[in-house]
């Protein structure tokens, strides 16, 4: 099967971005920091950045997402924000008693050239128990996905320490990238089945998808502990997905073997992931996953005709788009356009490209809804954000089980459409 010869990576250029298919870097950093135990994200900049990002994330996760701000005002922009920074940090320590404060510098702090090394040094000299991790996230540099990966890298660079004992370590560090809470839980389950002790950095599967409370949890329970992050410096191996570079830090600094893989979506990509796990653990893939793989393949066969050469448009973050595109190719769907926000695509350019591409469905976050509605074609909701459905944070994408869920949803969406459009309305398919 050949993918149509389309210029999928670069749209025609316009001076402005209309209906962006990307978010700003600090959002990604905040998400990563919420996956660290006892960590509160702290944005050094205007109050609005923290509030907008909170609101955006709350609408997806449907959980409290507290993000502090140093709340710059006019004088801070002129004379520097150090006094606001210090006051802000002090108030956060007092109210939240965090173990870590994840400081991300917004475009405002970055542009005035805030002296972060000095502020961090000053903080170290205080008697505060908490640790402070800093990531530079000017929003005019990169997208939220870069902010996410940068924050994870900063955690490793600033917290990981070398193995001081003579004992060889058995644990694996996995950098999953920007995936869902269901994906994180599934990854933990898989590594446990391989009997591989795992440190997942970050892990917001509980902090951003937890239960209902009797008392208010200032910082939700869960997340990767500081000690576990420190110990990544002595991992047996590391695995990272997509554009993550944290694994290369472990390799460079501590000579830990690193495996960089695409997000494991679909059979081929998941096979590669399981091969790595087999190599590291010296075990065969556990029966439960062999079973999942078998059923997935069986369903590929059962459903192949319904989706063969159907035309799909994929959009969103690069990591997800790359892997979903490969998955679609694997099942016989034509990915007629793979659009990433960081490659110049936005929803206006997508909407303009769509009529010629004649897609049968869209696959991406909920922001593509308007295009799907205008074309009257199904939208398969994946990734972040899902603002118009319940359970967006629990969508499973990864592994055989995630592919199974995606596959069933895609086939059934197309079957539904066929059934609805049919004058006969067959009751067998």
């Amino acid at each position: 099967m050949n993918t149509p010869d389309l210029d999928v990576d670069t749209p025609h250029t316009t001076a402005v971005t209309q209906n962006a298919c990307k978010l700003c870097t600090p959002l990604g950093a905040c998400l990563a920091f919420r996956g660290v135990e006892g960590c509160i994200p702290f944005l050094h900049g205007s109050q609005g950045c923290a509030t907008y990002i909170r609101r955006y994330m709350i609408s997806h996760f449907r959980e409290p997402v507290d993000i502090a701000s140093s709340n710059f005002h006019e004088e801070s922009a002129i004379f520097g924000g150090s006094s606001n920074f210090k006051q802000g940090i002090s108030n956060v320590l007092r109210q939240y008693q965090p173990e870590v404060i994840g400081v991300a510098t917004t475009c405002l702090a970055e542009t005035i050239g805030e002296d972060m090394p000095r502020l961090l040094m000053d903080f170290k000299q205080t008697d505060a128990d908490a640790k402070l991790v800093h990531v530079s996230t000017a929003s005019y540099r990169g997208t939220h996905l870069d902010g996410f990966h940068s924050a994870v890298r900063a955690l490793i660079e600033q917290l990981a320490i070398a193995n001081t004992s003579n004992q060889p370590s058995e644990h694996i560090t996995l950098f999953p990238g920007m995936v869902s809470t269901a994906d994180l839980r599934y990854l933990k389950e898989i590594l446990a089945a391989f009997e591989l002790p795992l440190t997942l950095v970050p892990d917001y599967s509980d902090t951003l998808d937890g239960s209902t409370w009797s008392q208010y949890e200032k910082l939700q329970t869960g997340g990767t502990s500081i000690s576990a992050i420190a110990a990544t410096g002595s991992s047996k191996a590391s695995i990272e997905f997509g554009l993550s570079t944290a694994g290369s830090v472990l390799l460079d600094k501590f000579k830990i073997p690193n495996h960089n893989l695409p997000l494991p979506i679909g059979i081929k990509a998941t096979d590669s992931f399981f091969e790595v796990l087999e190599t590291i653990s010296g075990r065969a893939t556990p029966q439960i996953y062999a079973g999942e793989r078998g059923r997935l393949l069986d369903s590929y066969v059962d459903g192949h005709k319904y989706i063969f050469e159907k035309r799909a448009i994929v959009y969103g973050e690069e990591d997800l788009v790359t892997s979903i595109t490969e998955f679609l190719k694997e099942i016989g769907v034509l990915p007629v356009l793979s659009a990433c926000g960081n490659k110049g695509w936005d929803f206006a350019k997508l909407a303009a490209a769509v009529p010629d591409l004649k897609p049968d469905f869209l696959i991406g976050n909920s922001k593509g809804y308007k295009i799907a509605r205008a074309l009257n074609i199904p939208l398969i909701r994946v990734g972040f954000p899902i603002h118009d459905r319940i359970g967006g944070q629990r969508i499973l994408h990864l592994g055989y089980r995630g592919a199974q869920a995606l596959y069933d949803r895609i086939v059934n969406a197309l079957l539904t459409r066929k059934q609805e459009d049919s004058p006969v309305g067959y009751s067998y398919q």
């Binding site: 316009t14 971005t17 978010l23 205007s46 609005g48 509030t51 109210q95 475009c107 405002l108 208010y216």
Partner: protein, 496 residues
């Protein structure tokens, strides 16, 4: 345990019977306090957002525009241009060399594509730092295209959300006075500070039209540039959401001698008062008569329907945390009409007069908050054991996590809550959350419901055996009709 930060103690108070001192307000948010407020840009953006035939271009890096894309449920009866998000998406190179060229090119391109009636250019934090001359670009493009291009000085860090309201009003004021006012009725008003969320402006316009008052411009719900340009021809400004639009009303009073009155369209009393306010102002007997008839007609339909909800909500308590304090007054009154009390009330941007009025209205023991944060709100919700939280998206998870019902009274509501119809919708909204059986399963409520059930079971046994006893205490519970009794029992079965 949650403590109030030392820097915030004067912004938190409890109403007592004795004279209480004024609350501190109107301050910049305390650094690190996790305020629910946004920034100057947010203030401007929410006010101007509903103008449907204008181009709204955010000059800055992508975040500010992305987070405000289609964020408000402000409906338009025509163009939908306001529901797009346009950004100059500044990159590092623009920050170094300036973003003016990009802004100008982008504006010309967008005007060519979308043919707007005007354009608003919002400055974000970064623009204030790199020194782009946005006003000069606006002037140039305006000369080239012939449409008004209005710079909005909304750099995020230059004040609070309230300063953003002022910047938006300043931009609007440059439009006002540029249109033809011929043919405007002597009985005419502008509706200020109404944003047509879920179509609320349409309900209000319909009322005013019915009583014989022309609405020249609604600023800014479902508004058009041409209406705003001629709005100085109206004889009276009715200002809702006083925090955002009173600045504009004052400007119009000064420049065009148009008096203004503050109104609210939430709740029965306030809605009726808003209609009478206009009718009395014009002093026409027929107008007043029509107003009376409209109010009576609406109320006679509404009250019997409200009774159903009041019977089921009587005695429940609520927390209110909203953007502008004006809304809190109306909500407290509306809750009273449903038999509910307000235990916590606060706002992001209330001023001293607002808080004095809140204090006067509140029952003793009510907690009053200015520029609060999640920890304080959660703390007081637990302390006061409220059944309902009225707020926006950022407050919703605070309520839900603690097993508290929630009513969205902010941008995202899908049901109109203004007007007489809105009061009924409000009652339904509150009831559909407070009366849900799901709370009975939540950790904070499960014990309470089990105890209540035990208590009720033992009472019903008692009742059964003492039927003939004339000293049986009279139940204060509202009489339920058959269907609802059945429903309640069913819910309890599910919970048990």
């Amino acid at each position: 345990m949650i403590e109030i930060l030392p820097g915030r103690t004067t912004q938190v108070m409890t109403k007592t019977n004795a004279a209480t001192p004024d609350i501190a307000c109107g301050k910049a948010s305390l650094a690190g306090s996790v305020s629910q407020r946004a920034c100057v840009f947010c203030g401007s953006r929410v006010v101007l957002y509903p103008i449907a035939d204008a181009l709204h271009l955010v000059h800055g890096p992508i975040g500010c525009a992305a987070y405000t894309w289609d964020i408000r449920g402000a409906l338009s009866s025509g163009p939908q241009l306001h529901r797009h998000s346009f950004s100059t998406d500044l990159q590092e190179i623009d920050v170094v060399f300036g973003g003016e060229k990009k802004l100008e090119a982008g504006l010309l391109e967008l005007i060519e594509i979308h043919k707007p009636e005007a354009a608003f250019i919002y400055s974000t934090c970064i623009v204030g730092l790199i020194g782009d001359d946005v006003a000069a670009v606006c002037k140039r493009v305006s000369n080239k295209t012939g449409i008004p291009i209005l710079p909005v000085n909304s750099e995020g860090f230059k004040g609070t959300k309230k300063d953003g309201y002022k910047a938006a009003c300043a931009a609007l004021n440059t439009l006002i006075g540029t249109g033809d006012t011929n043919g405007i009725s002597p009985y005419s008003i502008n509706i200020l500070g109404e944003f047509n969320l879920a179509g609320e402006t349409w309900i209000l316009k319909d009322y005013y039209q019915k009583i014989g008052i022309e609405v020249v411009a609604s600023i800014t719900g479902d508004s058009r540039i041409k209406d705003i340009r001629r709005s100085h021809g109206a004889k009276l400004n009715l200002v809702q959401c006083s925090g955002s639009m009173v600045h504009l009303a004052r400007m119009m009073e000064q420049d065009y001698n148009i008096p203004f009155k503050r109104v609210s369209y939430f709740g029965v009393e306030d809605m009726a008062a808003a209609l009478y306010e206009a009718a009395t102002f014009f002093g026409d007997a027929k107008l007043l008569q029509r107003t009376q008839t409209l109010v009576q007609d609406e109320i006679s339909v509404l009250y019997p329907k409200l009774q159903y909800y009041r019977e089921r909500l009587e005695g429940k308590t609520a927390a209110i945390y909203v953007g502008g304090a004006f809304k809190a007054f109306s909500l407290m009154r509306a809750l009273r009409l449903l038999g509910m009390t307000t235990a916590i009330v606060g706002s992001q941007t209330g001023d001293q007069n607002d808080y004095r009025q809140l204090q006067a209205m509140a029952d003793p023991g009510t907690v009053i908050l200015d520029d609060s944060n999640p920890l304080e709100l959660a703390h007081f919700c637990l302390e006061k054991d409220v059944d309902l939280f009225i707020g926006g998206v950022k407050e919703r998870p605070i309520a839900y996590k603690l097993g508290i019902g929630f009513c969205d009274h902010n941008h995202e509501r899908k049901l109109p809550l203004a007007g007489f119809l809105g009061m009924l919708n409000f009652a339904k909204e509150v009831y559909s959350s407070v009366a849900s059986p799901v709370w009975k399963l939540t950790p904070r409520r499960i014990k309470q419901y089990k105890d209540e059930k035990k208590d009720k079971d033992s009472k019903s046994v008692l009742k059964a055996t003492n039927l003939a006893n004339p000293h049986e205490p009279v139940s204060h519970e509202p009489v339920l009709n058959e269907t609802s009794v059945h429903k309640t029992d069913l819910n309890e079965e599910i919970a048990a």
